[in-house]
């Protein structure tokens, strides 16, 4: 698929996450007692390899299975078949009690700034939750440190989530994810619900933290331009499959798969618009391809 030739440096970098032929079927509610329940093939055999320290993007349209893939990587859901190997451990079928190291090393940031924080908990307790659960001493010190790291004042800890704006909530989510000092940060559409100005703030924050803490980032978005800005490499998903993987610049500039081509051309950009592109142009390329 990708024509990029790996450098020796890349080959030497250890793998953070490896996904092998992952399949996940969801049963739909039965319509009949006599026939087998229909299934949704959310993932139809996905394979990936993400190197340590990499910023890896996943793009695809709604319902293509991005979140499902992330849930499986985070062992929040069970695969129908296939394997997920995180830092040399096959976590696919590990029981919950043996996932402790995964829970410490891999954390998530979610899309919805409204529903990703428990409205009945103080921000302090939200951020400390992973620490408490994993038996770390939940010192106020660490919470203050984390709040500061995401650019919130220390007194924010005493307040409740609804007292914050969307962007600030997303910062709280990030602080929570960073609490157990993970090595891998997974972000599922973390900026899709935010305004442009706030989006820029949050993207900057994630970028800075990934650099500072030397994290592996898996970043999911439906917006190819965002992924292009944040990530080094990208996988394009469509209908439960990965149709193209490559360096973001390459994929963006010269999409190989017809789906990717359609996707790229459909993105309206200011530059193109100002140089006279119309709505018809958004369609044209994809259709011709």
């Amino acid at each position: 698929m990708t024509e990029h030739i790996p450098t020796t440096h890349e080959l030497e970098t250890p793998t953070a996450i490896q996904v092998v032929d992952l399949v996940r079927d969801y049963p739909r509610p039965r319509t009949s007692l006599f026939q087998p329940a229909p299934v949704v093939h959310a993932l139809r055999g996905v394979s990936l390899e993400i190197k340590q320290g990499e910023r890896f993007g996943i793009v695809g349209e709604s319902g293509c299975g991005k979140s499902t893939l992330l849930r499986l990587i985070a062992a929040l859901d069970r695969a129908t078949s296939g394997h997920v190997i995180v830092e040399d451990t096959d976590i696919t079928r590990l029981p919950e009690r043996r996932l402790r190291s995964l829970r410490e090393n891999l954390q998530l940031v979610f899309q919805d700034p409204m529903s990703s924080l428990d409205p009945r908990m103080r921000v302090r307790d939200i951020i400390a939750e992973p620490l408490v659960v994993q038996g770390h001493p939940a010192s106020g010190e660490r919470v203050r440190e984390l709040l500061e790291a995401v650019g919130l004042s220390a007194d924010a800890g005493d307040r409740y989530p609804h007292q914050f704006s969307g962007g600030q909530r997303q910062r709280i989510s990030i602080a929570r994810a960073l609490a157990p000092r993970p090595r891998i940060l997974i972000a599922d559409e973390p900026v899709s619900a935010l305004d442009v100005s706030v989006r820029a703030q949050v993207l900057n924050l994630i970028s800075d933290l990934v650099d500072e803490l030397d994290l592996t980032l898996v970043f999911v978005s439906h917006d190819l331009s965002v992924v292009k800005h944040v990530c080094d490499r990208v996988a394009v998903m469509n209908a439960g499959q990965i149709v193209e993987t490559g360096y973001t610049g390459d994929v963006y500039a010269a999409p190989q798969h017809p789906y990717t081509q359609r996707l790229v051309s459909a993105i309206p950009t200011l530059q193109r618009a100002l140089s006279g592109a119309t709505t018809a142009d958004l369609l044209a390329k994809g259709e011709s391809a």
Partner: protein, 314 residues
């Protein structure tokens, strides 16, 4: 659609079977020996034993259960231990009476609740809406039997317009039937109507906040037209649920009204059965009530499908 029907029917039948076991088991643990109650306290033990044998109460419980169930399936509800008459026709008669009452009550309740609730929701910030709300709040707070007593005092005893109590089958004297039905149906219906009004109100309020109602108005429908054409059917879905539940409660809740108005319905049959320890009768009545409730829920389920195309799995 068909599949859903089959599935619902399956659930209905299984529920019915489980209920029958529950009801039977419950009766089995009820203290008080039916034979002894029937014979009086000083009856000799032999006489009691003889009667138990006659009724088949000496057989193992599973045998008794299956016999009973078998009878039920053939429409034979057995013979009362106490009155020694067939229970089936009796229960059927009483059920008819209660059904008349409940249905009339329900119609009154709906006739009150549908317009009142809609108006309350549509004008929930206006004086008229608030006044109606307050009125329904008070209605909900009045026990049905108290409403019945008040109605009797005013319309039967003081004004003498309607009979205070009693029951005449419609076939015997339709005019009298109607006259005697009015007050009990009102006391049942007004109170239930007040309860229902609140559900209608909140269902309509919910619908009023829906986007599609705004779409309808953006098309050029006036607020009331939009509510009528697009809102009511959607509001009906939650209301139907409540209606189903209410109908269930009414069937047995009518017992109090039956008492106040001296109506020979299923409720009073049940109370008599309990106090006479006419166990088989109680068992049958409870089973019929449960059947009625399950049946109503079953129908409500189907009604949903008629109301809401989203439930029609293709």
């Amino acid at each position: 659609m068909i599949l859903r029907l089959i599935e619902r029917t399956g659930v209905f039948l299984v529920s019915l079977a489980v209920s029958s076991i529950l009801v039977f088991a419950f009766m089995a643990v009820l203290p008080g020996d039916p034979a002894r109650v029937a014979l009086g306290v000083n009856a000799s033990d032999e006489a009691v034993a003889e009667l138990r044998r006659q009724f088949g109460l000496d057989r193992p419980l599973p045998t008794q259960y299956f016999d009973w169930l078998g009878g039920l399936l053939h429409g034979d509800l057995g013979t009362s231990y106490v009155s020694k008459v067939a229970i089936g026709p009796q229960v059927f008669d009483r059920l008819q009476v209660t059904l008349w009452l409940v249905v009339a009550g329900m119609i009154i309740a709906l006739a009150v609740a549908a317009p009142a609730g809609t108006v309350m929701a549509a004008r929930h910030r206006k004086i008229s809406g608030l006044a109606l709300s307050a009125f329904s709040q008070v209605g909900v707070a009045v026990p049905a039997f108290l409403a019945g007593i008040l109605l009797i005092v005013v319309f039967a005893v003081r004004l003498g317009w309607l009979p205070a109590n009693g029951w005449t089958p419609p076939a015997q004297d339709p005019a009298m039937f109607v006259k005697q039905l009015i007050l009990p149906a009102l006391s049942l219906g007004l109170v239930q109507g007040a309860v229902l009004t609140r559900y209608v109100r909140s269902a309509v309020l919910d619908v009023l906040r829906e986007d599609y109602l705004r779409t309808a108005r953006a098309k050029g429908l006036r607020p009331f037209q939009a509510l009528w054409r697009h809102g009511l059917r959607n509001a009906a879905v939650p209301v139907v649920t409540v209606l189903g539940l209410q109908l269930a409660t009414l069937l047995i809740g009518a017992v109090v009204v039956e008492r106040v108005f001296v109506i020979p319905g299923l409720g009073s049959l049940l109370l008599d059965g309990v106090s006479n320890r006419d166990l088989l009768l109680v068992q049958d009545v409870v089973m019929v009530l449960v059947l009625a409730v399950l049946l109503v829920n079953f129908l409500v389920d189907l009604l949903y499908v008629a109301l809401d195309p989203r439930l029609r799995t293709a």
